[in-house]
């Protein structure tokens, strides 16, 4: 036990109760004593520090902030130094470390929501701006935090139709959602749910690994890493403790597909993660859901408990004789935690600062153990691969980019929503299938891939949306975000908003990103310097930042300069 200082702030009776109750929740007690914590790797796994973030959330949602007394009570129980816990609490946007107003409204003013002059969304209170909340299909949106009433999302469709879920060329990933979604296990079973798990148990680990490798599936989170290679690396490692993680910290501006999947088809993610666990030899899976996705969190939690009571999770998964369990973590509002090693730090109860790679998570991941981390959409594809067989699955899409892809259309598009298209569909086709540009206006520009993506001009609508198609046009599919801007949009303002996004979301660990994103924001907003130093910033952020956030932080500014937007 380190020489820990527990501070002078005294918890209120209510705060003391919250912390005690939080630790008494059945899942907490089991976790503190579970095998995972006892043998789950070196120093970090020996304590219950990984309960820090959920504990901070318990305080935030009950009393509206993390007060000195509340933090002391929590640190006392978890054995975490106060200064470190304060550092963790202040890392996250959604955790308040100052006395809160009665109603705190974090209203999205990011690239999609900024296009619509939104009203007050029917709530009154203290307003602050916010990065994209992933509600772009029905923007405007805000997070509302009230002491005692937790955290909630409010949205209001401004000048657009209700959100669409569509698959013009045939649905695979969106199949169940098309038929009204499946939020109970009975519904899920009735549309063929858990048959992929049956296949996986029947063909065994090597069968599943073979199928995924043959499918050629590549990660849908943005980096396009071959999924089969990742699974194989974790499966092949000799460690007795391994983990699988679903990265559901979807935070790329303009992106909301994973939210739609989790809200309307939560069992699909749970089934896929279970298959991943059984295949690579992990007994424990984690789903890390971005903090703003309150409905996703509730649906996933309820689905996990149903899967438990029906034997699809637990000591003997679906009669396989193998144990598998899932723990859900709620992010605290930090884009960088979508970076896989920052996500690991966040789960472990530390600040979400990326680790140096290598070593990669596949060998040194959660609590130092081999860990498989996949994006939600990537995992849900595994079900389809097992249903159809890899040959049939890769019959759509291109050789290098097999399968379908979910695209998130928002902004000045006639029918915003999530669209499933075969990889390689042209951007023009994707746009026209969403009804084209919203009535009465003309296309000026498209932002492809989110804040870390690039602009596409109306002359480039023939670009094929596959990994190689985008690459050859100097673009990136990124997270699948497609934000449409009509002629009325002041594009330099969009660029300035993206620059502000990166400055707000930089974790602050490395110099190129911490100071570079700040300088880029100042220059693009016209507050200092000239455009002449943007090249130097671009180089140092792209070359020398630790993680993908900093390495991509200048991508849109570069793209805007190439197209003469700024």
């Amino acid at each position: 036990m380190p020489n820990v200082h527990f501070g002078n702030g005294q918890p209120t009776t209510r705060e003391q109760e919250i912390v005690e109750q939080f630790l008494l929740e059945p899942e907490r007690a089991t976790h503190a004593l579970s095998e995972r914590v006892l043998v789950g790797g070196p120093r970090r796994a020996t304590g219950i520090r990984h309960l820090l973030l959920p504990g901070l959330w318990a305080l935030q949602d009950s009393v509206g902030w993390v007060s000195p007394g509340g933090l002391k009570a929590l640190c006392d129980s978890l054995g975490v130094p106060l200064a470190e816990a304060y550092g963790v609490a202040t890392f996250y946007e959604l955790l308040q470390s100052e006395p809160p107003p009665e109603v705190l409204i974090r209203q999205c003013d990011d690239i999609t929501c900024m296009l619509f002059s939104s009203g007050n969304l029917g709530v009154e209170g203290s307003r602050v701006g916010s990065s994209c909340l992933g509600q772009c299909d029905s923007s405007a949106a805000a997070v509302v935090q009230r002491p005692g009433h937790g955290t909630a999302i409010v949205t209001e469709s401004v000048g657009a139709s209700t959100p669409v879920v569509a698959a013009p060329a045939g649905a695979r990933l969106l199949r169940r959602i098309f038929n009204g979604g499946a939020t109970t296990i009975a519904d899920y079973r009735s549309v063929g749910g858990y048959t992929a798990l049956e296949v996986a148990i029947e063909i065994g680990s090597s069968g599943v690994l073979g199928a995924i490798q043959q499918s050629g599936l590549r990660g849908r989170g943005g980096a396009a890493f071959p999924t089969g290679a990742k699974w194989l690396a974790v499966a092949d490692s000799l460690s007795s403790t391994k983990y699988v993680i679903a990265n559901a910290d979807e935070s790329e501006p303009g992106t909301f597909k994973d939210r739609v999947l989790m809200e309307q088809d939560p069992f699909a993610l749970i089934e896929a993660l279970t298959i991943a666990g059984l295949t690579v030899g992990a007994d424990c899976g984690w789903i890390y859901i971005r903090g703003e996705y309150t409905l996703s969190y509730a649906r996933i939690k309820s689905a996990i408990s149903e899967a438990h009571s029906t034997g699809f999770l637990g000591a003997d998964v679906a009669g396989s004789g193998r144990p598998f369990d899932i723990e859900v973590r709620r992010g605290g509002g930090a884009y960088v935690c979508g970076e896989e090693t920052a996500l690991l730090q966040s789960i472990e109860g530390y600040r979400g600062e990326p680790r140096s790679k290598p070593p990669y998570p596949t060998s040194d991941g959660l609590f130092g153990q081999p860990t498989l981390i996949n994006n939600v959409e990537t995992l849900v594809n595994v079900l389809e691969i097992l249903h159809q067989g890899p040959a049939e699955w890769r019959s759509v899409g291109s050789a290098e980019s097999p399968g379908t892809r979910l695209f998130c259309l928002s902004g000045h598009v006639a029918r915003p929503g999530v669209y499933e298209h075969p990889m390689g569909t042209t951007l023009g086709r994707v746009l026209s299938d969403a009804g084209g540009v919203a009535a009465g206006s003309e296309l000026q520009m498209i932002l492809l891939g989110g804040a870390a993506g690039g602009f596409v001009s109306p002359e480039q609508l023939h670009v094929e949306l596959s990994f190689e198609g985008a690459r050859s046009a100097g673009l990136s599919l990124g997270s699948g975000a497609i934000v449409v801007f009509d002629a009325s949009v002041d594009l330099p303002k969009v660029v300035a908003r993206v620059a502000k996004f990166f400055a707000n979301e930089s974790c602050g660990k490395c110099v190129p990103c911490r100071i570079g994103t700040q300088r880029q924001m100042e220059i693009v907003a016209g507050r200092s310097g000239g455009l002449r130093v943007l090249d130097d910033l671009d180089q140092v952020m792209t070359d020398s930042s630790i993680c993908g956030l900093g390495q991509a932080a200048s991508s849109l500014v570069r793209s805007a300069r190439n197209l003469g937007v700024i």
């Binding site: 380190p2 020489n3 820990v4 200082h5 501070g7 002078n8 702030g9 000195p68 933090l71 130094p81 106060l82 200064a83 470190e84 816990a85 304060y86 550092g87 202040t90 890392f91 470390s97 930090a334 600040r351 140096s356 290598p358 400055a503 707000n504 979301e505 930089s506 974790c507 602050g508 660990k509 490395c510 110099v511 190129p512 911490r514 100071i515 570079g516 994103t517 700040q518 300088r519 100042e522 220059i523 507050r527 200092s528 310097g529 130093v533 130097d536 910033l537 180089q539 140092v540 792209t542 070359d543 020398s544 930042s545 630790i546 390495q551």
Partner: protein, 267 residues
């Protein structure tokens, strides 16, 4: 292979240390001999064949057949930008001489990037420490020294995010109200003068701190039997600061409050 020289490195060695064995010096800022690499400043970046971004040589371990370039034009441009970014945000006029030398070596201009500076009032809450976070480069050294790499006191951590990140106690409480035990091991590792003993701080602000007039005398601390080595910095016959050699195998640069601050009884 580092800069064309075949290097036979130990498994687990970092690129920086492997380069050092053949006399290639790579500039560092957040790295310190007595701490684990924090991998934060990115001044030590080098090119590794087959890797698109540059890699931090302080923390990346060597691999068989790795081809490394430590001083290409691209590497030098990136190092220069890192230095220029730092100079645009923080005051570096009290920084250690190595950092000043890097500015010369890489032809870095402190006015290249213009913008908001880190402005923070000095924090002086007692007779021993002065903290000036307007000089802080967030190298993580003080946090690591206070935490599990030396002192295990955990009085300070990084709080906030991005450009607003600061080294802080919980809720920014004053140092005497925090877990601080005044060992001063944070001061010992600070490379920029953001943390100084109050004696040094006062002399520097009064412009009476003259490094050239100082003599360093080595001795052994007499307070207990551990045997920590002391370096007494003496200017005009007065002790102005006490440090401990970071490469000494007993103290590794660390001291306690008595060794570092309890010299008033000496002649």
């Amino acid at each position: 292979m580092i800069d064309g020289i075949e290097v036979d490195a130990k498994a687990g060695a970092t690129i920086r240390s492997a380069a050092e064995t053949v006399g290639i010096e790579i500039p560092t800022l957040c790295w310190a001999r007595n701490l684990n690499p924090a991998n934060a400043c990115r001044l030590c970046v080098v090119e590794v064949e087959g890797t698109r971004p540059l890699v931090a040589s302080c923390s990346r371990t060597v691999e068989d057949q790795m081809v490394i370039t430590t001083n290409s034009a691209r590497v030098r441009e990136n190092r220069r930008s890192v230095l220029e970014l730092l100079a645009s945000a923080v005051e570096l006029d009290w920084a250690e001489s190595e950092l000043v030398a890097h500015f010369v070596e890489y032809e870095a201009r402190s006015d290249h990037f213009d913008g908001t500076k880190l402005e923070e009032a000095s924090k002086i809450h007692d007779d021993l420490f002065a903290r000036e976070y307007s000089r802080c480069v967030l190298c993580y050294r003080c946090v690591d020294a206070c935490g599990d790499q030396a002192q295990h006191t955990f009085a300070i951590a990084i709080a906030g995010r991005g450009f607003e990140s600061r080294v802080s106690t919980e809720f920014d409480v004053r140092l005497p109200d925090s877990a601080c035990v005044y060992c001063g091991n944070c001061i010992a590792v600070c490379p920029t003068g953001a943390l100084t003993p109050l004696t040094e701080f006062v002399m520097r602000t009064e412009s009476t701190w003259v490094q050239e007039r100082q003599v360093v005398t080595h001795t052994v601390c007499a307070f207990c039997g551990v045997g920590c080595n002391l370096e007494l910095h003496v200017q005009d016959d007065n002790i102005v600061k006490v440090t401990s050699p970071s490469d000494h195998d007993i103290s590794l640069g660390n001291l306690c409050i008595k060794g570092r601050f309890g010299w008033q009884h000496l002649d």
